[in-house]
Amino acid sequence: MNIDSIRNGIVIDHIKAKKGLEIYDILNLGKLDCSVAVITNARSKKLGKKDIIKIDKNIDINLDILGYLDPNITINIIKDNNIIKKYHVELPGEIVDIIKCKNPRCITSIEQELKHVFVLTDKDKKQYRCKYCETLHEN
């Protein structure tokens, strides 16, 4: 399958092999009314094997989530069969409501409708800490 097989839409490329379906779920792509293809174990010069997601529509993608899940991902925006934009995601400085704080003493465990916010505290180690109690998120 080639990237240009969709006319207008988004291709999420260079996903670590076997992670495509997880990203499909997290991005809630099942709720879209357009066609969405998840290709697993595609050949990749860079990664050996990779997953690809093709979305037949231009939608807003939460780049922070993708950056957190896999900073190697690239995103191609396709218009009239051409790649008009290419994004490289990176580790976001802050992630909101993607991971939950597991510290039972954290205020997020009781405060109504408080967003779970994690802040990047060490880029090299990919370490995130809860904004409120500073507990380290263990992957």
């Binding site: 003493r105 954290c106 205020i107 405060e111 109504q112 408080l114 904004k131 409120y132 109690c133 380290l136």
Partner: protein
């Protein structure tokens, strides 16, 4: 500076300024006795802490202000299920500044995000207690006349002791600071404190489980209590609570101008025979706590 949630919110310059004002208050209390006239401090203590609450209330009273509040969650709307955000919005209508203690870590930060008046974190679980650290810094500044070129011994519960972690964070910003970390194996300082504060700032430190080993090198000895509420297992608590008891004989080789500190309350980790030693400064430390809180209230209310 609108709030004080974490000691890291304050720059070294801001801390220096607070210390300068606190010293001036100590020397000229009458000059400050009406600075907060008609101002109200709300002390919201969602968990009991008589000492810290009284310190804040005394500080506000000495500035000529008034205080209101509660001393445990059961006497607040929290017992009815009210959120921290709502409580703080309501109390902000009645007061000019809020000092808040809460058992949940991060609660004062949440409060500061919703509050219309300045918030002071008066302790959030095992997380932060910045006014204790300010108290420690003022005590050291007054007793030693400097905050640099010091060797600090930190003794006891270095694992759960939030005062110790905050003090390390704060002191690591001054020149030529060395630490001696004295604790049993089970209560050693967490690795992340070593990596993220000590190693990152190239601070020299030694670890030992023997309180007397390096006592002759210390300028400050900061004792801490092994806190029962931090243990899930009572057996571990009972085994470790009496590990260090500072007494006269252990102080034999210590410097003549050593300063002994303790955030209080103590249980038995400092024998009462040490109380009369000139080097024991833990009750003076309580007094310094009131003065630094006065300086902080003035700063947050923007009163010169």
């Amino acid at each position: 500076m609108k709030n004080l949630i974490d000691i890291k919110d304050l720059s070294v310059e801001e801390i220096d300024e607070l210390i300068k004002v606190a010293k001036d208050i100590m020397q000229n209390p009458e000059k400050y006795s009406e600075k907060c006239k008609y101002k109200k401090l709300a002390t919201l203590f969602f968990e009991p802490s008589t000492r810290t609450r009284l310190s804040f209330e005394a500080a506000m009273m000495e500035l000529g202000g008034n205080v209101l509040g509660f001393s445990e969650a059961s006497s607040s709307s929290t017992a009815k299920g009210e959120s921290v955000s709502d409580t703080i919005r309501v109390v902000g209508c009645y007061s000019d500044i809020i000092a808040m203690r809460h058992p949940k870590e991060g609660a004062p930060l949440v409060a500061s995000m919703k509050s219309t008046v300045p918030i002071i974190n008066a302790g959030d679980g095992g997380h932060n207690h910045p006014t204790q650290t300010l108290t420690d810094l003022l005590t050291i500044a007054c007793e030693k006349n400097r905050l640099d070129n010091l060797t600090l011994g930190l003794c006891g519960d270095l694992k759960f002791g939030r005062t110790v972690h905050s003090l390390i964070t704060a002191m690591s910003r001054y020149k030529n600071i060395k630490f001696v970390l004295i604790s049993p194996e089970e209560l050693k300082i967490p690795e992340y404190v070593k990596e993220e504060i000590l190693d990152k700032n190239h601070i020299e430190y030694k670890e030992t489980d023997d309180i007397e080993k390096y006592i002759n090198e210390l300028d400050i000895l900061y004792m801490t209590r092994v806190q029962k509420e931090r243990f899930f297992n009572e057996e571990d608590y009972l085994r470790l609570k009496d590990y260090y008891i500072l007494n006269k004989s252990k102080l034999e080789n210590a410097k003549k101008d050593l300063t002994i500190l303790h955030p209080l309350p103590r249980v038995n980790e400092i024998s009462t025979e040490v109380d009369d030693d000139e080097r024991a400064c833990y009750f003076k430390q309580v007094m310094y706590g009131k003065y630094i809180r006065m300086a902080l209230i003035l700063k947050l209310l923007n009163i010169k």
